[in-house]
């Protein structure tokens, strides 16, 4: 994990410097955008999992209880 800190630092510097120079409303919007970007893989995975489960449930070979 110690090696990981350098690429994370390299990513964090521009992200934080941009945040620092933004005015209030823009900073909130920027942070919200970062949060959405961070959530995207989880939302996408959730969507994919739900779609797969739905497809399975609707399949004629699905194990209905």
């Amino acid at each position: 994990m110690r090696l990981m800190r350098w690429p994370l630092l390299a990513a964090a510097i521009p992200i934080c410097v941009v945040g620092l120079i933004l005015p209030y409303r823009a900073r909130v919007a920027y942070a919200r955008g970062l949060a959405r970007a961070a959530h995207a893989p989880f939302l996408l995975f959730g969507w994919a999992a739900r779609t797969l489960l739905r497809a399975l449930a609707e399949s004629p070979v699905a194990p209905h209880g």
Binding site: R5, L9, I15, Y24, A31, R32, H39
Partner: protein, 275 residues
């Protein structure tokens, strides 16, 4: 009539504190704060209704109060000087939000003759300024200067071992949350479950949880600063010391505002920020 105020997000911890305070006080003022970063969040209606069913409708007064102008002012007052002194710590918006809630609560208490305040701060997310012990001590002193007692009744309680996946990835990369494989003993969730106020002892991070309290995802920018930029290269004591110094400065500014509001009322700067 004995009255108190509770900083109330509608989540598990603050609902637990509201329930505890309802056992001690005749009336509990639940204060929910709104700002740009939490805009669009659901109002904490579900747990408020549960509290009223459990303790009686007349026991609770719920107020939604805007702190947006206050957070903005706290974040940017004397900004260049702040940048020179504190650098990237000026991204500590979650700390400025916490301070704005306490300033608004203090004003509410002074206006309504309330001498007791409590919130649901636990030992989770202790990289947030408002969750750090030295900063909580500053808040306690801030209230005490105006004759108000500030308490954290569930501060010493256990926290549930599970965390939302995103929290594990972004928030807890450095083990700051108190994750444990051991079953938690006394948590706010188990208390509310035993009181019949929650359907499960641990709902944190669930869809149920997200429906019952507001979001504040803009803290991600602050987390990136803390977990990617600062903490991997500095020790925690240094982080706490610098954050506490920043918060002490901001509290000093807020103190002057409250004093000026007492002297000048509606003509004061703080009255304008709270309008």
């Amino acid at each position: 009539m004995a009255e108190c105020a509770v900083l109330y997000s509608g989540g598990t911890d603050s609902t637990c504190v509201a329930s505890l305070q309802a056992e001690r006080f005749d009336r509990v003022h639940l204060l929910t704060f709104e700002e740009r970063g939490t805009r669009g969040s659901p109002r904490p209606a579900g747990n408020l209704a549960a509290l009223r069913r459990r303790h009686g409708t007349s026991r609770f007064v719920h107020q939604s109060l805007s702190v947006d102008a206050l957070v903005r002012r706290l974040s940017y007052e004397r900004y260049l000087r702040g940048l020179a002194r504190h650098g990237l710590f000026m991204l500590a918006t979650p700390g400025f939000s916490s301070l704005s809630w306490h300033v608004r609560t203090l004003v509410y208490c002074l206006d309504n003759g309330i001498a007791d305040v409590a919130d649901g701060v636990t030992r989770e997310l202790v990289h947030f300024p408002g969750h750090m012990e030295p900063v909580l001590e500053l808040f306690r002193n801030f209230y005490a200067e105006f004759g108000v007692q500030y308490e954290n009744p569930v501060r010493g309680w256990d926290v549930p071992p599970q965390q939302e996946l995103l929290d594990r990835v972004i928030v807890d990369r450095h083990g700051y949350a108190t994750l444990s494989d051991a079953p938690a003993r006394k948590t706010t969730g188990t208390y509310l479950f035993e009181q019949g106020l929650l359907p499960h002892p641990n709902v944190k991070g669930s869809a149920f949880d997200r429906r019952m309290q507001h979001d504040c995802y803009p803290f991600v920018l602050f987390n990136i600063f803390a977990f990617w930029l600062y903490l991997p290269f500095h020790d925690r004591a240094d982080y706490e010391r610098r954050m506490t110094a920043l918060m002490a400065e901001k509290i000093s500014v807020a103190r002057a505002w409250v004093v000026a509001r007492r002297a000048n009322g509606a003509a004061s700067e703080l009255a304008g920020l709270l309008a």
